[in-house]
Symmetry: C2
Subunit: 280 residues, 2 copies
């Protein structure tokens, strides 16, 4: 049991907040009961689990700890002081793990059939990226492709805002050029969302194999997407706000696709997702 906030392991955990330490170690942190449950279920390579039983909120935690230990992770107990130091949260729940980063190569995505895919470009805020993953999961997306990321998907705030759906929705990170090539080779229609588009999203057919493309909070989509997408579409705006939040815009277009697909009987099934989640 670790009781000192100066323990080297505690210091290593704190360092995982910084991207360069994540990039170098190819590790990342997963905090929280729900998030860890999803990570375990998705076969994420959990290496160490740090547990602080006095902070548990419920009574299910010991079973999850046992299951994670059974998957081969080392379990280390922390007292409250060091746990509070390593936690990313104001009210820690007593569970934080270190896991190996998984492969985010675009080549491993299965784009066969008539999938719905969300593509997001240059998203800056981890909270937005996490919310987009959660929403893409709820909408039954086959995959989320993060283009030209300014936010690392292994950022702890992405894990958190995604509620662990980072582990359930197949995720790829790629350049815009490569993404356009891969989607084109897969025969997918790409729909670039932009406020200047002549057509409303409601007037674009989203029922076939479709990638919905959403741009950054501040700058929208790059010219590459605006010029090379199969079509553009806008969300009709009535109000005085400059635009919707980027994650909200993604949600509105994703659920328009869900509506159209339910109407035509092409409903995405979560079971249609088969993707290699072995550690990279």
């Amino acid at each position: 049991m670790i009781t000192s906030t100066q323990n080297p392991r505690v210091k290593d955990l704190v360092r995982l907040r910084e991207r360069r330490h994540r990039d170098r170690s190819r590790l990342f942190a997963i905090e929280g009961y729900r998030e860890l449950g999803r990570a375990l279920q998705a076969g994420i390579d959990i290496r160490q689990l740090y547990a602080c039983p006095s902070l548990y909120l419920g009574s299910n935690e010991p079973a999850l700890v046992e299951a994670i230990a059974g998957s081969g992770a080392e379990v280390v107990e922390l007292s409250e002081a060091p746990f509070r130091k390593v936690s990313y949260r104001d009210r820690p729940e007593g569970l934080l793990a270190v896991a190996g980063q998984f492969d985010t190569g675009i080549a491993r995505l299965d784009l066969s059939g008539e999938p719905l895919v969300l593509v997001v470009e240059s998203i800056e805020k981890p909270g937005n990226l996490g919310t987009m993953l959660r929403t893409a999961d709820a909408a039954g997306c086959r995959a989320v492709i993060v283009c030209e990321p300014t936010t690392d998907p292994f950022n702890p705030n992405v894990v958190r805002a995604s509620l662990g759906t980072l582990f359930t929705v197949p995720l790829a990170v790629a350049g815009t050029r490569q993404t356009i090539d891969v989607l084109s080779a897969a025969g997918m229609a790409t729909v670039a969302t932009t406020p200047d588009a002549p057509r409303a999203i409601y007037d674009v057919d989203l029922t076939a194999s479709t990638a919905l493309v959403v741009g950054s909070e501040q700058y929208g989509l790059s010219d590459a997407w605006l010029q090379q997408a199969s079509t553009t579409a806008r969300i009709p705006m009535a109000g005085s706000a400059d635009s919707l939040n980027a994650a909200m815009a993604a949600g509105v277009v994703l659920f328009e696709a869900v509506r159209q697909r339910q109407a035509t009987g092409n409903r995405q099934q979560a079971t249609g997702r088969n993707v290699d989640r072995r550690p990279s």
Copy 2:
């Protein structure tokens, strides 16, 4: 010019972060160029404007300061140290005002015609409430009604996440009982969104006079709403996440109403909003 972080005015400004000080003084803080521009335009009662020119991001700030001064506000210059102390932001933009709280009584809402109204119950997170206001504004809602608030709409994080749409969308705060009575008297259909509803939101007519009702992040809607709403509706979910974020759920149902209304030609016009914004 105030240069000390110990100045009594600086202390008063910091106190406005706490709800009891806002409630007692009937004041609140508005920070940021865009937010203050919207407040000025909406006729919000701005009493004092604190400006720190060395923090301005652009060149339009002096014109806004002059306009706010012209509306009768006292303008006080702050040096960087006290401004950073009073700012709610990591990267302050050099503009922060104190304003009188406006009337949020439900009786002042104009519910005539066929408005689209968003009702939210017991929302806990200021960021969610602010995002809901921004989204309701983008969707052309006639009003947002906040039922049984656990978050004070004058919380600085509501102002911020709303991007100042707190001042453009007519807002009321009321109990659930009173809200049901008022909407019923106005002849509005109330659509309670809940994951257990038999009908999908896409199969409910939202084109007439409609209030969309969304519940809290953790507990959803109260029994009062579930039992007394005209109908219930769910957002179809495909994924493994427990549910959408509360603000996202509001956005999805609001833009479904926008879609239906565009299809039938009942488009909400922002100009349809006439509401008394005089100070309370």
